[in-house]
């Protein structure tokens, strides 16, 4: 989880990723950030996130993203 938060901080350091559960709804990350983020996650966690996983519910919090990674690994 810490590794993930570290990656997320690269895109928007002002967000508290441990508490914020509305990253996408609050537009803290935009859809262009998500492309780079997915590329980073794929590389760092050796998973394959595809277009079907790109829904706000999967990216609204660090916890949700981590759950997605666990599901895919």
């Amino acid at each position: 989880m810490e590794k993930l938060v570290e990656i997320l901080k690269k895109y928007n350091p002002d967000v508290d990723y441990y508490t914020n559960e509305h990253i996408i709804d609050e537009e803290a990350l935009d859809s262009f950030d998500i492309i780079s983020l997915v590329a980073d996650i794929d590389r760092e966690f050796d998973v394959e996130i595809t277009a079907k996983d790109i829904i706000p519910e999967n990216f609204n919090s660090a916890k949700k993203i981590y759950e997605l990674i666990e599901r895919l690994s």
Binding site: K10, S31, F32, I35, V38, I49, T50, A51, K52
Partner: protein, 530 residues
């Protein structure tokens, strides 16, 4: 049968009557039969194409569902390694099925809509290399709504592939989702999860649905017949003979076309949504006051919304999250560590390029439409690249980006860019577009503003007054809606005299001020041709 014709009004009235008289269980059947009848009236034997599309996506959808179910059963009580192998095998099969769906449906669309364009270009290439072979062109008639229902069909199969929905076992529901009669003409492009059950489930007669739907359809007719078709007279006169005009007249024609296409397309969507609302069916929103957009990105989130969403879901995401694009993004992120914004922009531009090529080609098979797509792609690319510089500049110049003045400046800037886009869209070809654009800046003819030449292009002073008042009404309605003012509900609250005066004014303005063609034939909708 145009949807702004008397025939259509009678058709709708009969279908409504039959729908509400039919027992609950069979109501969807009335919608399906009437939709196929409407299709047959408009496209005759070309109905075969929508039937092929329906059967193909229904069967391929079932096949996808079957593979998923089989995989679930096979994955019980097996090792992790075996599970992985089974998943891989299922993945390959699923990919083949989606590929077949794409080939069948894009194949039909490609041959009917793009065959002559591609062959024409191949012929030019063959000529360039002195190869004496020519592919003959063929005459195709475009079945109505093919560009709309094909996108809906593909979204159905891809959503099953992405496991967002389950394959439907009821072919009637799939068929109705594709062919629903008011929607088939110009969209809005519906998603299966939002629309299929709404169409299939029975709806009761509700006075509010009938009243609100009728009012929305009347407003759509007003936009189309009083505004769009009136503007079209002037626009056609200038664009069909553009070499004769310059300066002020051309500026007016471009501006008028922007309003014409908005009133025409949004008007059609309002008629379609109004008719659907009478049945108790709520269609997706396709326009959200686009001229109040502060950027081009925002404009495309407010204009032809359902096409934008489709392109984002099925082109942008598919390209952006494909292996090769993610590899490219990784490389860019690593190589441009110091220039994060540049890396982010470049990796976003790659899928955006495909989105805009698809957007352009969807509108029509010609280089002009590809150029139209590329125009927006370049505008967006420049906008994205310059964002940090503009931010710094505003900070340096102490410009308050949240001030009203700055917002108005952004709206006007966006509106100007949109007008140039509309010019490209309306011009006969790319060279005409450039010629018209150049002639707009001929300031020597701006005296025509005073000499009355503007009143010789199909619209006299009286027509201009009607047009001016109608446009102001449309812009006020948009402005009020932008301010979250629910106009139909507000009218409802007024006393009976005022309320009915507004209703009658709407109806009679269409009858009296509507533009009718020869023998009172209604004119076609611009987006109907796509």
């Amino acid at each position: 049968m145009e949807i702004n014709s008397l025939k259509f009004i009678i058709f709708v009235a009969v279908v409504i009557l039959l729908y509400f008289l039919t027992p609950k269980k069979y109501k969807w059947g009335i919608l399906l039969i009437s939709s196929y009848l409407f299709y047959w009236i408009n496209s005759n034997q070309l109905i075969i194409f929508i039937i092929i599309t329906t059967i193909s996506i229904y069967l391929l959808g079932l096949l996808l569902g079957k593979i998923d179910k089989k995989l679930k059963l096979q994955c019980e009580n097996v090792t992790k390694e075996e599970k992985k192998n089974l998943k891989e095998r299922a993945k390959t099969k699923r990919k083949i099925i989606v590929f077949v769906a794409l080939i069948i449906n894009l194949g039909i669309l490609g041959v009917i809509k793009y065959f002559n364009f591609f062959c024409g270009n191949i012929n030019i290439l063959l000529n360039l290399f002195n190869i004496n072979i020519q592919i003959p062109s063929m005459k195709f008639v475009l079945p109505i709504g093919i560009s709309y229902y094909t996108l809906q069909a593909l979204s159905y199969v891809i959503d099953i592939y992405r496991q967002k929905i389950e394959a439907d076992k009821n072919i009637g529901r799939v068929a109705l989702f594709l062919v629903f009669f008011p929607q088939i003409v110009e969209g809005p492009i519906g998603r299966y999860k939002d629309l299929a059950n709404q169409l299939y489930n029975p709806h009761k007669i509700e006075f509010n649905h009938i009243k609100n739907g009728t009012l929305l359809a009347i407003w759509g007719l007003f936009q189309k017949m009083v505004i769009a078709d009136r503007l079209g007279i002037f626009v056609d006169a200038v664009f069909s003979n553009h070499l004769q005009y310059s300066g002020f007249i051309v500026v007016c024609a471009v501006l008028f076309y922007t309003f014409q296409i908005y009133a025409d397309f949004a008007g059609c969507i309002n008629i379609v949504s109004g008719v659907a609302e009478i049945f108790g069916i709520s269609l997706a929103e396709n326009f959200r006051r686009p001229f109040f957009s502060r950027s081009i990105q925002e404009f495309w989130k407010r204009w032809n919304i359902t096409l934008g969403v489709w392109l984002k879901e099925y082109i942008f995401y598919s390209v952006a999250f494909s292996k090769w694009c993610l590899n490219l993004t990784t490389k860019l992120n690593l190589k441009l560590k110091k220039y994060k914004h540049l890396a982010k922009t470049l990796s976003a531009l790659c899928p955006l390029f495909f989105v805009w090529i698809a957007n352009g080609l969807w509108h029509g098979a010609s280089w002009k439409y590809i150029f139209y797509g590329m125009y927006y792609f370049i505008i967006m690319a420049i906008g994205m690249m310059l964002t940090p510089i503009l931010k710094k500049l505003c900070k340096y110049l102490k410009i308050n980006v949240n001030s009203k003045k700055y917002k108005i400046w952004q709206i006007l800037r966006t509106f100007f860019i949109v007008n140039i886009g509309m010019l490209i869209f309306r011009a006969a070809d790319i060279s005409s577009a450039f010629s018209i654009l150049k002639s707009m800046f001929d300031f020597s003819t701006f005296g025509e503003f005073f000499n009355g030449k503007i009143f010789t292009l199909g619209l006299d002073v009286g027509e201009f007054i009607i047009l001016g008042i109608s446009l102001i009404i449309m812009l006020i309605v948009d402005f009020l809606q932008e301010k979250n003012y629910h106009i139909r509900e507000e009218i409802e609250k007024r006393n009976v005299v005022l309320r009915w005066s507004i209703y009658y004014a709407g109806i009679f303005s269409i009858i009296i001020f509507g533009i009718y063609g020869k023998d009172y034939n209604p004119s076609s909708f611009i987006y109907g041709q796509f």
